[in-house]
Structures are given as C-alpha cells and as structure tokens.
C-alpha cells in the first residue's frame, strides 16, 4: 500500500492535539504513542482507564430472515442460540479451517447481528460475507462509525461520569444505547472495559467529556499491543493466519461442542479431521529468562538443537515486568515449563513455555 492510500482516523485532529506519534498499521495512520510513552500508557490502562481510538476496525450489521443461517455458514457458531445482546468470539474460516479473521458477533435482535472485524481484513471480510449472503436472505451493511475502546478498572465509572450508564451490561454483551450507537463490554487488554461504535459528532462529545476525567488518558497502538500480548490475546496476521486453524491456536473454547460435531460452517470437515488426528503444533505462551525480548519471527529450538517452532508475537510486558511472547511449538513441547531456546540474532535465549495469560483477566462477568 502506498502512502497516498493511507487512511486517516476521523478524530485524527484530536490525536494531533494530544501529541500523538503516528505510524502505519493495516493501511491506516494510527496513533502509536502519546507523550507519556508506551510504558506509562500501558500501566495507566491497567490501573485506571485507557481510551483507544480503534476506528480502523470495521463494524458490519448483518440483518434479515436469513441472517442466522448466513452466520452459521460463515462462522463455527450456533448463532440461533445467542441471547439478544449476547456476544461471541468467533472466526471466518476457509475450507481448510484456516482463520481468515477472528471477530465478535453480537445478537442485536431476532434477525439482526453486529459483526466487529479487524482492520487488516475488513475488505476481505466484507467481500466474503457479501459473496455468501447471495445464498441467504440477509443483508450485509458496513457501518460508518467512530469506534472507541475504554479499558481498565475505572472505565465504567468514567463512562458513568460522562453520562453513559453501563450498570447491567456484562462481559461479552452488547447493546444499542442510542441511535446508531453500539456498546459492548469487551476489549483487547484483559481488563474490564467497553467498546463503543458511534457517529463522529457523538464521539467528539463523548471524548471531550471522558478526557475531563483525570482517570482517562489516550492510549496508543503500541500499548494496545503490549496489553493484549500480556493478556494472551491473539493478533490476526501474526498469531492467527489463514494457515492456522482454531485447534492449533488453542481457541476451540470458542466453538460449541455440537457445532464441532455437526455444524455446517465453512471448514467444518477440515477442522474435524484436524481434531481427529490432533494438531501438529500448538500456540503457547513463552517467557524469556532475562530482560532481552524475543520477538515475532524468532525461531525456537529444543534443548537438543532441533527445530521446535517459532515466535509469532513478542515484546516486553510492562505489567508482567519481563519479556512476554507467544508462538507455535510442536505439540509434544507445548507443556508449560518446557525449556526451549529462541534464536535472537544468532544468540540462543532460554525461554520457558508458559501458560497464558501473563496477567490475570479482570472481566466483569456477573
């Protein structure tokens, strides 16, 4: 993608005023950090409330008498079993059960659903859904929204002070509190928090009110990445790809048992045979011994020097206080505590297979 095609956030002027340093991500010019820097931004999100502009992500409304059937085909999901306002983490799979994208589906009404997809895959996701929708009586409508996340233990209180009541909303539930608003209790940090899609004018009002609260600070994409990595959450394009299936990724919890057995979603047959023979590699957490981070792309070897897998995400965990990483290793080596080595610029850095997440999730489940 050339510089001319770079997309700009509707609220870019606010980020400029806030002193953001910008960088390219998935075709967008995104705020990477603000003046406090990634370390302080990260810790602020865990201690108070971080405000993230995630308008690069895409919201789709899927509606119509065939919406449930369409989503049952597109995702390994029992769509009809969702309660109204219930959200589910799921995927679009290809015929080989590879993950085209990971997404969150929320039931808004009897035959209306919200699909939240990743920026990098938004175009492909839309085409995929539209192509499928030809066979079903359902419409796919991409929504033009600003999308904000507010994450951290003070998120609910800051929203309340800004006039947005969140009281009865539980983790992985979403509602439409106002005209053209979508608000879910969800996020990408492991903290309690909310994601709100809303028209630009409303977003400017809400941001102004939230930033009057000293508990709320803008947080950039750099801290968003370190927060999600500590929380053990996958980034599509790194930890998940169209070559990786949900069983290898350790995400089978997202697929209901009866859907695994008898669902008619795309990739069902391939996924069943992968489950039958067992995935050859599994996604694991990786904890380096010292202070030196191991990063995406580093090869992993076992104690005897044999290839063991590779790192897909890695960096420093400001809350964990040590380097954190995740990657894929041969299934026999996936047990927590297994000692491996990462090849970092020719040096062998000892890493232990670790259970995820590195920091405890603090979701508001009830």
């Amino acid at each position: 993608m050339t510089g001319d095609d770079t997309r700009h956030l509707p609220l870019e002027d606010l980020h400029q005023v806030a002193g953001a340093r910008f960088g390219a991500f998935a075709g967008w010019s995104m705020p990477l950090t603000y003046p406090p820097g990634v370390m302080k931004e990260h810790l602020h999100s865990r201690d108070h409330a971080g405000l993230f502009d995630i308008s690069h992500m895409k919201l789709f409304e899927v509606a119509g008498p065939g919406a449930i059937a369409l989503l049952n085909r597109a995702c390994p999901l029992d769509t009809g079993a969702l309660q109204i306002s219930q959200s589910k983490y799921t995927f679009f799979l290809n015929e080989a059960a590879g993950i085209i994208d990971d997404l969150i589906v929320t039931r808004l009404g009897d035959d209306r659903f919200m699909v939240v997809a990743n920026a990098g895959n938004a175009v492909e996701d839309e085409k995929h859904l539209r192509d499928l929708s030809a066979d079903f009586d359902a419409k796919v409508e991409p929504l033009d929204r600003v999308f904000l996340a507010i994450q951290g233990p003070d998120a609910w209180a800051a929203l309340a002070r800004a006039g947005i009541e969140t009281g009865s909303l539980l983790f992985m539930h979403g509602v439409e509190p106002r005209q053209n608003w979508f608000m879910s209790r969800s996020g990408y940090t492991g903290e309690d928090g909310f994601e709100i899609g809303l028209p630009e004018r409303d977003a400017r009002d809400l941001v102004a009110r939230l930033l009057e609260d000293e508990r709320v600070q803008w947080i950039g994409l750099a801290a968003r990445d370190s927060l999600r990595l500590e929380a053990g959450l996958c980034l599509h394009g790194q930890d998940l790809t169209p070559e990786i299936d949900p069983a290898s990724a350790g995400l089978m919890w997202a697929i209901p048992k009866d859907i695994r057995a008898s669902g008619h979603f795309i990739g069902a047959d391939a996924l069943r045979s992968i489950i039958e023979r067992g995935p050859s590699q599994k996604r694991v957490g990786l904890k380096a011994d010292g202070r030196q981070p191991v990063r995406a792309g580093a090869a992993l070897i076992d104690a005897d020097g044999n290839p063991a897998g590779h790192v897909t995400s890695g960096g420093f965990g400001p809350s964990a206080g040590h380097p954190v990483a995740m990657g894929y290793v041969n299934t026999a080596l996936a047990k927590p505590g297994t000692k491996l080595f990462a090849d970092v610029r020719g040096a062998k850095i000892p890493v232990d297979v670790a259970s995820l997440p590195f920091t405890t999730h603090r979701y508001r489940k009830g």
Binding site: M39, H42, A222, R291, R295, G315, F316, P323
Partner: protein, 122 residues
C-alpha cells in the same frame, strides 16, 4: 578538551584523547520510546563505520545502533544492563552506550557539530 560530534543516524560522539564515547541523541530516544534492553558489545571488538555496534530494544521493536567511525570497543556501559531506561532519561549523559578507540580520526571531519545536527532534525 572534549569535542562532540553528531551523525545523521542520531548518534553523538564525545571525543577525548583518541577515544570516543558514543550514545544516541535525545531525539533518537524519543523516537524509540521506553527502552527495556540494550545488547552491549564485547570489549575488544573491531568495528568498521556502519557496522552494528549495539541493539537497543524498546517495548515494541529492536533497533540497531551503528558504529559512526572505525575503531575498537574499549568499554560498554554496564549500568544499562540493570537500567536500560537511562538511555531515555539521560541519553547524552549516563545513558552512553560504548567507548571506542578511534582507528582514523580523519573520519570525524565528515560528522556534524551540534548546530548542524539541530538543523538536520529541524
């Protein structure tokens, strides 16, 4: 009397008695963000101008710091092992990276002085 030079790659060198103390500029540390690890060079290593001398790692990425001139490493800043954030808080002071004995002092002539560097970063 020590003299300080700057490179286009945002390094500074303070030269005294044929030995240069090398670090990155305040502008560079700001661009990198919070450092969490510095991979220090071995003493005695001979470097040609442009070789990677040190790798500095921020939360997000690893970046090479190049030898600004030819020479031999005589010292590495060991305090960075315990506290890499010194590079952020004191880039041109306690956050120095390494010292090197210069092989060819003429190379210094192609470097910038502080005024030229300030113009370079705008």
């Amino acid at each position: 009397m020590a003299k300080t030079y700057f490179t286009e790659d945002h390094e500074w060198l303070r030269v005294e008695g044929g030995v240069a103390t090398v670090g990155i500029t305040d502008y560079a540390q700001e661009q990198l963000g919070d450092l969490v690890f510095v991979e220090l060079p071995e003493i005695g290593r001979k470097l040609a101008k442009g070789d990677t001398a040190v790798v500095v790692e921020s939360v997000k990425a690893a970046s090479d710091v190049y030898a600004p001139v030819d020479g031999e490493i005589t010292e590495a800043n060991a305090s960075l092992s315990a506290d890499p954030s010194l590079v952020n808080s004191a880039a041109t002071g306690d956050g120095w990276l390494w010292k090197m004995k210069l092989a060819n002092e003429n190379q210094l002539d192609s470097l910038m002085d502080e005024a030229a560097y300030k113009a370079h970063i705008g």
